[in-house]
């Protein structure tokens, strides 16, 4: 398998795994974590009303712990998918990286390993903590994540060196360039991806213009009322309102980022279609499934505000469609006969 195929296979696999992790996280952790954070906030507000300063501190320590739990899982999801994007991007420039094939293959493998270990390290931060660590503030899981990040930086620096050699050589390529086919799949992914990104931008512009400031002011307003020594039922109502506000913010941000990321993914996948060795019919099928899932997930994430868990379930189904399409394309990459690899060798 050439460096380019390792990167394409590894990149799509990382994206699919990152999305699967995100789906599992959304179903089994996200809502439970939100509920526990709300309960801890309620505990803090009740402690404040009961003049129990130590109780407030305990409750906030618990909130910090819950936020770390949630934050590291979100970061694992994001970093695994972004490492996949990076691998696909690096695959695109392989013909212009003037290094030996053996070195390029090694770099490709290291990049995929780094892209896998980085999110694994981030995920473990919450569980490993500072156990057996010789450092005062950095645990072994952070060391693993940072080392994997450093590995990615070294790989990219080497790829950059290869690109520098290409520019110095006056345009000498090291392997055949990506075929520029004008297939239906490619055009659908290109225009569909651009459209998804555009929708994401429009939604982001609308949110920042009409909702962002309102949300920020409303949060402070609720927190002020919450700490105003009310009775338990009043505090409960404030905590519920605060929880709803956080949900509304999270839903808009998730819809905005997911639709743009899916757009970018569609454009990147349009470049690697020549490496997907499937019949025209199946290639088209996977493209349609991918674009359908890319619309369903962010749309129904937004609709969670109105339809609750039903919309959330449909959104997760949208994510599953994207994962299925990615796995379908991955099978095509595995089945690829290596024609372009052969030319490269």
């Amino acid at each position: 398998m050439s460096a380019r195929r390792i990167l394409i296979f590894g990149g799509i696999a990382l994206i699919a795994m990152g999305m699967l992790f995100g789906d599992v996280f959304a179903v089994f952790v996200l809502h439970q974590n939100g509920g526990a954070t709300g309960a801890a906030l309620m505990q803090a507000a009740n402690a404040a009303a009961a003049q129990d300063a130590a109780g407030v501190k305990t409750a906030f320590a618990q909130i910090g712990n819950l936020m770390e739990d949630r934050g590291t899982k979100v970061d694992s999801h994001v970093h695994m998918i972004d490492a996949g994007y990076l691998a696909l991007l690096v695959a695109l420039v392989q013909p212009y990286v003037l290094l030996s094939q053996a070195k390029k293959k090694l770099l490709a493998k290291l990049l995929i390993i780094g892209g896998l270990l980085l999110p694994v390290g981030i995920f473990l931060i919450h569980y490993v903590g500072l156990a057996y660590s010789p450092f005062s503030a950095i645990g072994w899981a952070s060391v693993l994540a940072d080392s994997a990040g450093a590995l990615l930086i070294v790989c990219l620096a080497y790829e950059g060196l290869g690109l520098w050699r290409y520019f110095r050589s006056g345009g000498l390529v090291s392997e055949p360039e990506m075929p520029r086919e004008r297939s239906w799949e490619r055009r659908a992914l290109l225009s569909g991806g651009t459209l998804l990104i555009l929708l994401g931008f429009l939604h982001g512009a609308w949110y920042s213009a009409f909702r962002l400031y309102h949300h920020e002011n409303h949060e402070i307003y609720i927190l002020k009322r919450m700490s105003d020594f009310g009775n338990e039922s009043a505090i409960q109502s404030e905590v519920n309102e605060y929880g709803m506000l956080q949900v509304e913010k999270a839903v808009h941000i998730a819809a905005h980022s997911h639709i743009i990321e899916f757009g970018l993914l569609a454009i990147l996948l349009s470049f690697v279609q020549p490496f997907v060795f499937l019949s025209e019919q199946w290639k088209r099928r996977w493209v349609k499934v991918l674009l359908l899932g890319s619309v369903i997930l962010p749309l129904f994430v937004l609709l969670e505000l109105r339809f609750g868990l039903l919309a959330g379930g449909i959104a997760d189904l949208g994510g599953l469609l994207v994962i299925i399409a990615l796995v379908g394309m991955l099978v095509g990459v595995v089945r690829y006969t290596g024609r372009l690899d052969g030319e490269a060798a």
């Binding site: 507000a45 402690a47 407030v56 290109l190 402070i220 927190l223 454009i267």
Partner: protein, 159 residues
């Protein structure tokens, strides 16, 4: 390499580097202080409320609000510069496939680059007490990016 691709690919790399450099500077010298201020102010506001120090609690909540306002925007600047840079690099790979004359593609590429640079810069200005100017730049920048992207989508659809 055509001029439009050069603008997008090298402009995108430059934007991504600026975004990463800003992120590095922010993580090393600003983020921890801001997070400490946010966490400390919020917990402190509730502790002050428990100790029946009403005015102090309100001051700390206001401090939390200000810190969070800055934090959200500073993180957004970092992620948007890098994200837009990445989008420009990806579009640069296929920009020649747009069914437009080269002059129009170059104009589109410059619009994308200008908008992608101006929009996060405007958001950053909002955090240093230049809110009106920052908002105006952010709106103009994002408008430019959206307009250019509409044209790009139309160009791909015609290809």
């Amino acid at each position: 390499m055509s001029r439009d691709r050069k603008v997008l690919i090298f402009g995108g790399i430059a934007l991504a580097l600026i975004g990463m450099a800003y992120g590095l500077y922010y993580a090393v010298s600003v983020e921890h202080q801001t997070l400490d201020q946010m966490g400390g102010s919020l917990a402190g506001a509730f502790v002050s409320a428990a100790e029946r120090k009403g005015p102090e609690s309100k001051t700390l909540l206001a401090s939390y609000g200000e810190a969070k306002y800055r934090y959200v925007r500073q993180v957004d600047v970092h992620s948007h510069w890098i994200g837009l840079g990445m989008l420009m690099i990806v579009l640069g790979v296929v920009f020649e496939e747009l069914r437009f004359a080269e002059r129009r593609r170059v104009l589109l590429a410059w619009s994308l680059l200008a908008g992608s640079a101006i929009f996060p810069a405007g958001v950053m200005l909002q955090t240093v007490n230049l809110q009106t100017m920052g908002s105006a730049l952010a709106i103009a920048g994002s408008g430019l990016v959206i307009g250019a992207l509409v044209a790009t989508a139309a160009g791909f659809a015609r290809a």
